[in-house]
Symmetry: C2
Subunit: 333 residues, 2 copies
Amino acid sequence: MTGETNRKPTSFDVARRAGVSRSAVSRAFTPGAAVAEDTRKKVLAAAEELGYRVNSLARGLQGDHSGIVGVLASRLDTPVRARQVQLLAQSLIRDGFRPMLVTAENPDDVAGLFDTLLGYSVAGVVVTSDTPPQSTIEACRKTRVPVVLINRDAVVGWGDRVISSPDRSGQMALCMLRSSGATRFGVLEPQGHTFSVTGRANAFKEAAGACVCLTSKDQSYSAARAAVSAVGRAEVARVDGLFCATDLMAIGALDGLRLDLGLNVPKDIQVVGFDDIEQASWGAYDLSTVRQDLEAQADIALDLLKSRTETPDLPIRTEFVPLTPIYRSSTKS
Amino acid sequence: MTGETNRKPTSFDVARRAGVSRSAVSRAFTPGAAVAEDTRKKVLAAAEELGYRVNSLARGLQGDHSGIVGVLASRLDTPVRARQVQLLAQSLIRDGFRPMLVTAENPDDVAGLFDTLLGYSVAGVVVTSDTPPQSTIEACRKTRVPVVLINRDAVVGWGDRVISSPDRSGQMALCMLRSSGATRFGVLEPQGHTFSVTGRANAFKEAAGACVCLTSKDQSYSAARAAVSAVGRAEVARVDGLFCATDLMAIGALDGLRLDLGLNVPKDIQVVGFDDIEQASWGAYDLSTVRQDLEAQADIALDLLKSRTETPDLPIRTEFVPLTPIYRSSTKS
DNA sequence: TTGAAAGCGCTAACAA
DNA sequence: TTGTTAGCGCTTTCAA
């Protein structure tokens, strides 16, 4: 029984074995199709014996989508992104979709990769990072492929969005620091522009009025730590309430503040982050932060996708994700 | 120009516009096919104008695989897994494959989900977590679908493997602790059995001889921390060299040791982890560990997949991933 | 409720 | 090098 090669059984094989037509087989595997319960059972039994499974490629070729959903996600090894993708994948799978992961190593690759997705007759595309090229988005619109953007800028003409309001995020962070007694504010943000990250940093600055701005090379732990350390103790001491645009950066800042500059958090300076990644709750950091509800994010994304599939001509929508202040010991209260 | 719905152009449309046959179009899009450079250009131009892209579903239906590779990966929000999947996805994409992510929320779902992968005529399956059902593996063998197992037990009859040798992992950890002056060893491992995690813990025990064993509920930070704290200072103080089966657990242990038990690492007790996740290098932990080379892991997995595709009847192989000792400040040297 | 027949968009074998 | 032809495995009218 070892070593033999079998051809995959087709609906034809099943049909013959069950003594019915191929249409009957197709119906037996189509939820809600008109089949006699009796035939259905015969078909299922025959299929079981033969080890038959529906060929999704053929089914997708026939119907108007393959059930595959493209998931654009770079920097997957970042805690937030990993969790986003995990939850998104689970939601999609739960609903019978299949996530196809597209990670670009190089931003220039995004266009081409996204483009090939369309060749799989995807049921939709979810974008969690990178900015897809306008031309491809346009192709999605024309062929009525739903696009959902997570924490991204609005894309002209097509794409529903689910976002954590940058304004409310920045304001909530400020509010947390204020209510913990901070009065001289600072913000740490990465270079370059991102809708959500830069957005909430700006909202924080605007709400705070006077504000010391620190800039790190990117969103990484090490860049954030280096940025804080480079500024030096004297300069940092002018601030007693620091908002870091992401938890990862906040954790880098915490290590910079304590380990490199010898400051005491929260006594000398209080720190608030954003996201509530798992690491924020680790004992050594215990970081106060603004949590964005990623479960809700995933569910909303899925809802937008499904409703858009049913009614392609719906106006374009923007949904907001719940935010919660989480007080831990990097702030005083 | 807004609101119109277009049908997707097919190779037929392109053929007509370029004044050639559909085969010519097909050839123009097949690397290494016999086409005159001139025709190829005409076709590409026409395709560009029409916004045509090859329908991978149809292509996959015709050929023997769709270019999709199933990636089985649960607990994606764990640092190691996230990085594994990221690197794997990049390697696959670089070679023209498309990773389809399968995350099971519930272990019972794995079987069904894995099964549906076969319906997409996958070019292969990579397993990074969970244990796929024997029956499906058998189906893969029969239909010659390559299976690559990462840090998993051998599966009867089919599946190439890439692993970090549990024996060498455990031994290397012990060696690190010994060379840093530890003499009384302990190991922290999670309940349940996993090929790699349990494997290296056992190898460590065996090589160490006498050894205090701590068990945590699972592989999480919090379970590890709780396990260490629950044991108490007196008991833990009997150990001066602790190996934790993963970095995540080691970090939990570190917080338990320092924050909950008030011990000094590395003075009172030295700690070594496994994986070298990014967090291990964070200032607050600075954990000594055994690094498994995840880049190599991904590349080897891809190689196994490709070679198996070319030569399905190759004997089953097991490849090893490079291991490197990383000394940081949770050990004395 | 069932079956026959017509494609879905593509590639591969064959002939020209 | 090119075009013609025959499917890949499925779903879906349309009649029965």
